[in-house]
């Protein structure tokens, strides 16, 4: 609505500007009509609206929109009418000349509900001719929604002149909507209108077709089939929408779980402080953005690109320190590791709370991550899309690393058979430290991405830890593909359950399903085979 309003104000100012140079200085039907506003009579006002709106006079829009906003002042004594601007300056409505002040005897022209409707339609009709394409499309859409009969002529005129394809389509839809509700339209016209609205095919078209009231039998029949077709296409789009939301949630889950899959899979270490590594990554982003804001504001759009490697280094280094100082004393005692890392997560949370305060910290979106675009009937936001791309990139890099680098080879060897790997001369303890660092570093990178869509607070990690474990357990330990499939399956299942069961019940259902799934396949979707199972 504010956008609409500012567009109106803008065109108002534009017309005022034009008026200052090209004045229509002849007295005629327009001036007579304007004078009728001063009669304070509803039927006179209605007549005046009709004449002014169809006059083609550049003052028509300022007058009608002023009437709509209650800024059209009329002096019953002198029959003069004034348009007062939002800035306090006024013009004479009939001539467009600026006036010093509006006389005290003038009062705002009154409207009733019926008049208000025709004013709205007139404004719609006037903006249909606006030089700005966006305004024209918006106007056409608002006519489509109101399907006010009085706007039909304006729509027809605009349609004849329109060259822009999108605007033309919008005008065609608006015209069809008007005809559908016009009592005296012919059956053929109405059938055509139904076909156009069917092609429009969104929720509004559906509402229009269901609520169109008494119609000839053939039209009702056509409408019924149109409704069925729109409904099935809407159902398809809502499936696509759910799938997209599911992919988006799945990418977030994957990002949070992927580091865990490495530490859990390779080392058998349950790292309950994993969520805190994510949180530290998010806070690294916050610090980077703060520095950029105060020192180098021009770099803001690159803040995430700078933060990602930094977060990897900070969280990764912390991971190595944790492995060397705590985890390595607890190998072979997974339950104790779980408790110690839980304690660690409490310490890290409290440390961040002490340093940055307990409240949410603001992390901004760079310009290339804000906004959204429409794809058919669904809206896709750029930040979600980038996170999906980013997640897949991280996954691919990690996979390549495991496959083609020396460290990756050593990590796989240790995963498959630790003692054999040690016998072959691999420094398993060094591999352990680096693996833990890698897992933590990836959690840090996940924090950079999550800072864009979630609140950056000391509790950030906690909200992901259970979900991440579910992903890893569901997908199977020691297999990155399992984690990928697990994350996207859970994400999509969650989003498809949500509309049916509600957000919380959907989540509970997922948890229960995982618990049941674990009974069936205790080692996850992609289980490791062989001796590693008993380790």
């Amino acid at each position: 609505m504010p956008a609409n309003l500012s567009a109106r104000l803008y065109s108002l100012l534009l017309s005022l500007f034009l008026i200052a140079f090209a004045l229509p200085a002849f007295a005629g039907p327009f001036e007579d009509a304007v004078a009728k506003f001063a009669n304070d009579d509803y039927s006179d006002t209605e007549e005046a609206i009709g004449v002014v709106a169809s006059s083609g006079n550049p003052l028509a829009f300022p007058i009608i929109s002023a009437l709509q906003d209650g800024r059209l002042m009329a002096d019953p004594d002198s029959k003069k009418v004034y348009v007062t601007g939002a800035d306090g300056k006024s013009i004479d409505a009939a001539t467009g000349q600026p006036v010093a002040s509006v006389p005290d005897s003038a009062s705002a022209v009154r409207l009733n509900n019926r008049l208000r409707r025709s004013v709205d339609a007139a404004v719609g009709g006037l903006t249909l001719m606006s030089p700005d394409v966006t305004t024209r499309i918006q106007a056409a859409q608002s006519v489509f929604k109101s399907h006010e009969e009085s706007a039909l002529d304006a729509v027809n005129t605009a349609l004849a002149k329109e060259t822009n394809k999108t605007a033309k389509a919008a005008l065609g839809d608006a015209r069809a909507a008007i005809i559908l509700f016009k009592p005296d339209a012919t059956e053929v016209e109405k059938l055509e209108a139904v076909a156009t609205i069917k092609a429009h095919g969104d929720q509004e078209a559906l509402a229009m077709l269901t609520g169109m009231g008494d119609q000839p039998a053939s039209v009702t029949k056509a409408a019924a089939s149109a409704i069925a077709s729109i409904q099935s296409s809407l159902a398809l789009w809502s499936t696509v929408q759910n799938a997209w939301y599911g992919l988006s949630l799945g990418s977030v889950l994957l990002l949070a779980a992927i580091g865990l899959a490495i530490t859990f899979g390779v080392m058998g270490v349950i790292n309950m402080a994993h969520g805190e590594m994510v949180m530290i990554g998010a806070y690294t982003t916050f610090v980077v953005q703060e520095v950029i804001r105060t020192r180098y504001p021009g770099l803001f759009d690159y803040s995430l690109l700078i933060a990602a490697p930094l977060a990897f280094l900070v969280a990764g280094a912390l991971g190595v320190v944790i492995e060397r100082s705590i985890i390595r004393f607890l190998y072979g005692r997974p339950l104790e590791t779980l408790l110690a890392t839980w304690g660690l997560s409490l310490v890290l949370q409290q440390a961040v709370r002490t340093m940055f305060g307990p409240t949410n910290r603001e992390v901004g979106n760079p310009s290339w991550m804000s906004g959204a675009f429409e794809l058919g009937q669904i809206t896709i936001t750029y930040n979600r899309l980038w996170i999906l791309v980013f997640t897949l990139a991280v996954f691919a890099i990690l996979l390549a690393m495991l496959r083609y680098t020396a460290l990756g080879l050593e990590m796989r060897a240790v995963t498959q058979n630790r003692r054999m790997a040690a016998s072959m001369g691999i420094a398993t303890s060094r591999v352990d430290a680096l693996t833990f660092g890698l897992g933590s570093g990836i959690a840090g990178i996940a924090g950079v991405a999550l800072s864009q869509i979630d609140n950056v607070s000391p509790n950030l990690g906690q909200s992901y830890i259970i979900d991440s474990f579910m992903v890893v357990v569901f997908g199977g330990v020691g297999n990155l593909w399992g984690t990928l499939v697990g994350a996207f399956t859970l994400g999509i299942a969650n989003k498809f359950l949500e509309p049916v069961a509600g957000a919380v019940l959907g989540k509970i259902a997922i948890l229960v399903l995982i618990i049941l799934f674990i009974q069936k396949r205790p080692r996850g979707l992609f289980a490791l085979k062989g001796r590693a199972v008993e380790a």
């Binding site: 310490v347 948890l511 674990i518």
Partner: protein, 389 residues
């Protein structure tokens, strides 16, 4: 449980523990009720309630030690059983309010009137009777544990997998109980209790009685645990803890043993929750938070897993520390303390306080016996080298 079995199962530590709990259970309520207020030896009422809370935690810790210390099942969702027991008791207490609530509805609790319930949900039936609620305190957690355990143990979900899905279980319950339409008061939980069995919950006498009852329940739980672990069944449990596959190959039905002890432990946790609620005066969904369950595990680790006495001791020590830390100016540092406790205990004190003490005691006893033997031998005129031969 024959008297013979009882005496056999009690070593010196257990006897001391039982004596101390019994003494507390008798002396603290008496001192609170009989001595004049403000006198040096009088225990103030707020302390009675506070220590009553610790005793309930000790029962919860015992139930965790029974499965973790003796059967190797690390449940990170035991807080759920505790909370379910608490909710069962809370429902009884809610029904006892009757028409004294803010809205004065004789049947519906206040929150239901507020949420426009037209009638009592079916699962609230029967909770106006104490015996029914008491039964539910045992049955609801027990049944959940039975179903959960039956599914989990039969398909051989063990170790960290089990820990993680127990955590998921309590998390799912947390989410469910937070919902208003779940019928348990949503976010606010159950509170504003008035009476229990016709006695005012706030009254000093009731609080003292509840404290004594909690001590009694702790003693009973301890004796039950003791009886279980020192029986033949207990030996099998320990065998499962140490070598699950081997026990299975020897012909024991591992899942049945585990299921029995898991269900028993859940019932004990439920009782602890039921005693906890009237003393604290509120039960809300935050009791289901996974963090609470993990904290309870650390009590056991601090006291010493597999010692029973240690579990109870750990619960009291850690919670006493928590109360003294969080109420003073050190409050912001409590989480540092708790976190460090988790790390240090697992790294440096894997046997816990009691376990370490026992090890030291046994060692020094051995040394003493060796010394007495040596000195006795010297008096007999036999030289040590000959002993060695």
């Amino acid at each position: 449980m024959t008297p013979h079995m009882l005496t056999r199962s009690l070593d010196r530590g257990a006897t001391i523990f039982l004596a101390v709990v019994a003494a507390c259970g008798i002396l603290i309520p008496l001192s609170n009720l009989l001595l004049p207020a403000g006198s040096f030896l009088q225990v103030p009422t707020y302390l009675v309630a506070l220590w009553g809370k610790y005793v309930c935690y000790a029962i919860l810790a015992l139930s965790i030690d029974l499965i973790w210390g003796y059967c190797g099942i690390l449940s990170l969702g035991h807080g759920a059983f505790f909370a379910l027991g608490g909710y069962a008791m809370g429902m009884y207490l809610m029904r006892q309010i009757g028409s004294r609530g803010v809205y004065g509805n004789p049947i519906l609790p206040d929150f239901m009137v507020f949420l426009n319930y037209s009638k009592l949900p079916w699962y609230w039936y029967g909770f106006d009777m104490f015996w029914f609620a008491a039964l539910m305190v045992l049955i609801v957690p027990g049944l959940l544990a039975f179903c959960f355990g039956w599914l989990a143990f039969r398909s051989r979900v063990t170790g960290v997998y089990l820990s993680i899905i127990t955590q998921a279980m309590t998390y799912a319950l947390l989410l469910a109980f937070f919902r208003n339409d779940f019928g348990f008061g949503g976010n606010n939980g159950l509170t504003d209790f008035k009476d229990i069995l016709g006695f005012n919950v706030q009254a000093e006498g009731t609080r003292a009685a509840l404290f004594a009852l909690s001590c009694l329940a702790l003693i009973a739980s301890f004796l039950i645990c003791r009886a279980v672990v020192s029986s033949k069944l207990g030996k099998v449990l320990i065998a499962i803890r140490d070598a699950e596959s081997r026990s299975r190959f020897l012909g024991y039905r591992v899942e049945s043993y585990k299921l029995f002890v898991f269900t028993l432990s859940a019932c004990m946790a439920g009782v602890a929750g039921a005693l906890y609620v009237p003393q604290v005066g509120i039960i809300n969904p935050s009791e289901f938070a996974p963090g609470n369950s993990i904290e309870a595990v650390i009590w056991v680790a601090v006291g010493g897993r597999g010692t029973l006495v240690g579990a109870a001791l750990g619960a009291v020590v850690v919670n006493y520390a928590k109360t003294s830390f969080t109420s003073g100016m050190l409050a912001p540092y409590w989480l540092f303390m708790l976190g460090a406790l988790f790390i240090l205990v697992t790294l440096l004190l894997p046997k816990g306080i009691v376990g370490t003490f026992n090890a030291w005691w046994d060692q020094s006893k051995e040394k003493r016996t060796a010394e007495t033997a040596a000195s006795a031998a010297a008096e007999d005129g036999v030289t040590e080298p000959k002993m060695a031969e």
